[in-house]
């Protein structure tokens, strides 16, 4: 378990993966219970929210009948256990609001979320890695200063403002892009930019720091003094070692992007998971919220696991870091 232990064999990696997957169970239980409790103690219940959406005030009997119909008149623990028992048998339930199955809702929301997450991560990596290296190599020069300053700007406005500005100028004024999403790829450009601009701003600085750290290592000087060309060292060793930072960054971003980005989805009319869960929380649509939370926990753990395993393959020295972080 300590960082100095020798490289693990394939069997150990497999055992490690299994152990991590098993740890999903307590996390899943904890997260779903916490969600249920939070929703339960918040002062509105689904029936009230539903009736508030309709703007009417029906009699108490109607409210009570609806509560009974949804099973909301049972004690909290019973409701949760009932949900859990159905979940174990593969039934995630149906939405209180429109009666559509939760699995169906997740599947409908997923494509938009996946599209947005993938495109924005790709654009971010494509821009931030070269820019990050550039600023590191030219540390302290004007290029460095300009790029760093731009990276601050990209990261200094709330993303809904950036989104509205993009829509206003590039869609309405210049007419280059549609405002309402369609199935064509062109409608992905602006939301991708809205997500990628601040991420790039942040990651340029992180990549720069990682490359700088590598450049400061003795092996770089050693390699150069042995007569290797700087760019060979840069691309063969420095970049390879800086990959760990990049992978960590990506894993964190993908995780949060796969949870949906409510504001972007709303503004660009690309209803994905973020949009789904925001409206579900507003309506106290318990089954949908639970379905989402399960999805998030699984995504979180799987991404974390993949990241750790990839460390193992990228850098043998990390091998036994598994289990610590």
């Amino acid at each position: 378990m300590s960082k100095s232990s020798p490289r693990l064999g394939q069997g150990a990696v497999l055992r490690y993966v299994l152990r991590r997957l098993l740890s999903l169970i307590p996390v899943l239980l904890g997260v779903t219970l916490l969600t249920y409790a939070l929703m339960y103690i918040s002062p509105k219940d689904p029936v009230e929210m539903m009736l508030q959406a309709q703007g009417t005030a029906p009699s108490r009997e109607v409210v009570d009948a609806m509560r009974h119909q949804l099973g909301l008149d049972r004690p909290f623990v019973i409701q949760y256990l009932d949900w859990l028992w159905r979940f174990i048998r593969g039934d995630m339930g149906v939405s209180y609001v429109d009666g559509i199955s939760v699995a169906g809702k997740l599947l409908t929301a997923l494509p938009n979320t996946l599209k947005l997450a993938a495109s924005s991560v790709i654009v971010t990596v494509v821009f931030s890695v070269p820019l990050g290296i550039l600023t590191a190599v030219y540390q302290g020069r004007p290029v460095d200063a300009v790029i760093r300053f731009l990276s601050f700007i990209g990261n200094s406005l709330p993303n809904f403002v950036v989104s509205l500005l993009l829509l206003y100028f590039f869609a309405l004024k210049l007419g280059w892009f549609p405002i309402l999403s369609s199935r064509s790829l062109i409608s992905l450009v602006l939301p991708t930019l809205a997500l990628a601009i601040p991420m790039t701003g942040k990651y340029v600085r992180q990549v720069r720091a990682a490359v700088l750290e590598q450049l400061g290592r003795p092996y770089v000087d050693g390699a150069v003094s042995r007569g290797l060309k700087t760019r060979t060292v840069l691309f063969r060793d420095v970049l390879r070692n800086a990959m760990i930072t990049i992978v960590t960054l990506m894993s964190m971003s993908i995780g949060s992007l796969l949870g949906g980005t409510a504001a972007i989805e709303m503004i660009f009319v690309l209803p994905g998971l973020g949009y789904m869960v925001t409206s579900a929380v507003t309506a106290r649509d318990y089954p949908v919220i639970q379905g989402f939370v399960v999805w998030m926990s699984v995504i979180y753990l799987v991404i974390n696991l993949l990241t750790d395993v990839s460390y193992y393959y990228m850098d043998p020295r990390v091998s036994a870091g598994m289990g610590v972080e």
Binding site: S2, K3, S23, P26, V27, G30, V31, L34, T35, L38, M39, I41, S42, P43, K44, Q139, R148, F152, I153, N155, S156, L157, P158, N159, F160, V161, L164, Y168, K202, R205, Q206, A209, A210, L212, E213, L215, G216, T245, T248, L249, M252, S256, G259, G260, A262, A263, G274, V277, T278, V281, T282, I289, F292, V293, M296, S297, Y300, L301, V324, E325
Partner: protein
């Protein structure tokens, strides 16, 4: 490149001074406002900048310049409080978990996992739903989701410091756990935490306005909610969003510059790779 240049230190001192000056200014700026920031005058609604209202008025005829001045303290201190609160909670939990190790560590880390896997938006909306919308509750909601990064960060430092010889020596000398923590581990582990904290400031500032976009706004003058409440007037009365946006923009840039310079001084080798979200 390895040592901390005096230039970096000077830079940090300058940004720190500006930052402190800004904090002090924001405490008194409300009193410099030419109008009552909450004074509603419907007959003066949506006036363009000029004359009595240097930055114009909003949809309720409130003076935007006065609201920016009055909102400075809540906007700036809200981000400070979010960072400090999550730092304190995260560090306390992380240190205990890392130092105690074993079963305690295992349990704490699973709890951290639960919070990390827990979608921040669900938590934020649920907290706002329970406590009501408002700045204080928004701060609580955001702190509740961001303490985990500090816990994980400081725990990993504690774990590695525990292996260091000076800690082992202290233990052999019979020092108590608490004093080892206080004398040897905490001072060494706090640097990366401070770096993460300053880098976190700008993110915290932006998340507050994100919350108010989702309808969890505070009603008082606060830059983020001014921006999000006024966004439907972006085309008709651009000044309603322009000035709060500039205010947020400038302060976030300052936070970013400060964060970077603090990192250059405290963590020059870029060891601190745990990132804020």
């Amino acid at each position: 490149m390895m040592g901390v240049s005096s230039g970096a230190k000077r830079k940090m001192a300058v940004y720190l001074a500006i930052f402190i000056a800004l904090c002090i200014f924001s405490l008194v700026s409300g009193r410099l406002a030419p109008h009552d920031a909450e004074f509603v005058d419907l007959l003066a609604a949506k006036r363009a900048p000029g004359g009595e209202y240097p930055m114009g008025t909003d949809w309720l005829g409130r003076c935007i310049w006065s609201r920016i001045l009055a909102g400075a303290s809540s906007s700036i201190f809200a981000s400070l409080v979010i960072v400090v609160l999550s730092m304190l909670v995260g560090c306390a939990i992380g240190i205990v978990s890392g130092y105690a190790g074993g079963a305690v560590d295992e349990v704490v880390m699973r709890i951290v996992d639960i919070f990390l896997a827990f979608p921040g938006i669900v938590l934020s909306i649920a907290v706002a739903g329970m406590l009501g919308p408002g700045l204080k509750n928004g701060i609580l909601a955001l702190a509740a989701t961001s303490w985990t990064q500090y816990a994980r960060l400081i725990r990993s430092y504690v774990l590695s410091l525990r292996q260091e010889n000076f800690v082992k020596a202290a233990r052999l000398n019979g020092q108590s756990g608490l004093s080892i923590l206080a004398r040897h581990i905490f001072p060494n582990a706090i640097r990366p935490v401070v770096v993460t904290g300053t880098l976190h400031l700008s993110g915290a500032m932006l998340s507050i306005s994100g919350l108010s976009f989702l309808g969890l706004s505070s009603s008082s003058a606060e830059w983020g909610s001014m921006l999000s409440e006024g966004r439907s007037l972006m085309q008709q009365c651009p000044w309603v969003v322009l000035y709060p946006a500039i205010a947020i923009f400038l302060v976030t840039i300052l936070f970013n510059l400060l964060g970077d310079s603090v990192r250059d001084v405290l963590d020059p080798n870029g060891k601190n790779k745990v990132l804020n979200d």
